[in-house]
């Protein structure tokens, strides 16, 4: 059994690279949808205690929109696209081609537009990751929530925490600057049980006693 606490710097770097490629594909997809350049932060890859989930995306009570997909297929994990509440309406205006400030809040049509974007971004992330690691990954149907960020993430994290008090978190910030600026966060959480499969697929882990083929 691979322990999250014993991941080597090389393994962490490789995971960050996977996050970078996944998020890069997601950023390209977003850029096509809004016809603007999309900036991307250097992805963070870290093994964090459950209690630190509260610190993701600006503090536990930050009001956000979130689009959530479960990873199906060869890996067990979760991807969430998070947009701060204050910027979600701007994002909807941009997606619908309306002047900025048209939407004071996210209405039902805006919600489906956000869900669709979240779906496309996270699916692109998964496809890129699957191609890189030669793994079969499919997204579950997307689910949408609008609430405090910790309240949205706690049930997702709980699904990964039965056997572990730490989780692997890969996070990337996407941002559009200038007129109608907004930020979105792509968060990916992987189950500790599934990590050996991902690392083995990219030749950075071998089961004890197994032969190295990478």
């Amino acid at each position: 059994m691979l322990n999250l606490a014993t991941l080597t710097p090389i393994q962490i770097d490789a995971l960050r690279e996977i996050g970078s490629i996944g998020a890069g594909h997601a950023a390209t997809a977003l850029s096509k949808m809004v016809r603007r350049r999309v900036g991307m932060s250097v992805p963070g890859a870290s093994v964090i205690p459950l209690s630190a989930v509260n610190d993701l995306v600006g503090g536990p009570e930050t009001q956000v929109w979130a689009i959530y997909l479960q990873m199906l297929g060869d890996l067990d994990g979760h991807i969430v696209f998070v947009v701060p509440q204050a910027e979600a309406a701007t994002m909807v205006d941009r997606l619908m081609g309306r002047p900025f400030g048209t939407s004071a809040s996210v209405d039902a049509i805006g919600e489906s537009a956000l869900a669709e974007v979240g779906n496309i971004l996270t699916a692109n992330y998964l496809i890129a990751m699957g191609e890189l690691a030669h793994l079969k990954l499919q997204p579950s149907p997307p689910m949408t929530a609008n609430d405090m960020v910790s309240a949205i993430l706690d049930g997702i994290v709980a699904q990964l925490s039965e056997a572990s008090d730490t989780i692997l978190s890969l996070e990337t910030k996407l941002l559009i600057e200038g007129d109608g600026a907004f930020r979105g966060y792509l968060l990916m959480f992987l189950s500790p049980d599934t990590l050996p499969k991902l690392l083995a697929a990219i030749g950075l882990w071998q089961p004890p006693g197994g032969s190295r083929t990478a």
Binding site: P60, Q63, D147, A151, I152, D154, A163, D165
Partner: protein, 157 residues
């Protein structure tokens, strides 16, 4: 602030025990009304029996209740005099099926664990579709619940 899977205890009448942004998780407060002592746990999952080891007993409903009871009795509280207040266990994703609605299972498990320990639940605010921030004031024994839905009123339990 009590983070996911963590717990806290206090005997300071000026203190507040709090959890920010509870979704499907459940916050449990145990206290003895005649003594100024209370403990809070931030529960993520209903059942520890599937886990190989339990280094963080506050994470599971079935281990969090005995943990809080022991923490309080070690500090002089009388087990038969303990009472509880409970909040949380929301369904955060509207389209989620039962497999992805862990809130209700957490609430059921917490209530069962409290009943098993013969600890009465004086008040609760559970379920629904909005997150909660909870604050327990040791001076008044009030559990203040603020909803993640800005239109919802603040509740005092």
């Amino acid at each position: 602030m009590v983070g996911m899977g963590q717990w806290a205890v206090s005997d300071d009448p000026a203190a507040t025990l709090a959890i920010a942004g509870l979704g499907s998780c459940v916050g449990i407060v145990l206290y003895e009304p005649r003594r100024k002592i209370a403990a809070m746990a931030h529960v993520l999952l209903p059942d520890s029996r599937a886990a190989e080891e339990v280094p963080q007993p506050a994470k599971f409903a079935d281990t969090a209740v005995p943990l809080l009871r022991d923490v309080l009795t070690e500090r002089g509280a009388r087990p038969a005099m303990l009472v509880a207040k409970v909040a949380g266990g929301a369904r955060m994703f509207r389209s989620a099926g039962p497999g992805l609605a862990p809130g209700a299972r957490n609430v059921d498990a917490v209530m069962a664990a409290l009943a098993g320990a013969k600890i009465p639940v004086l008040a609760s605010d559970v379920g629904g579709t909005a997150g909660r921030t909870i604050r327990f004031h040791l001076g008044t024994w009030a559990l203040e619940v603020a909803s993640g839905d800005p239109r919802a009123a603040r509740v005092i339990l």
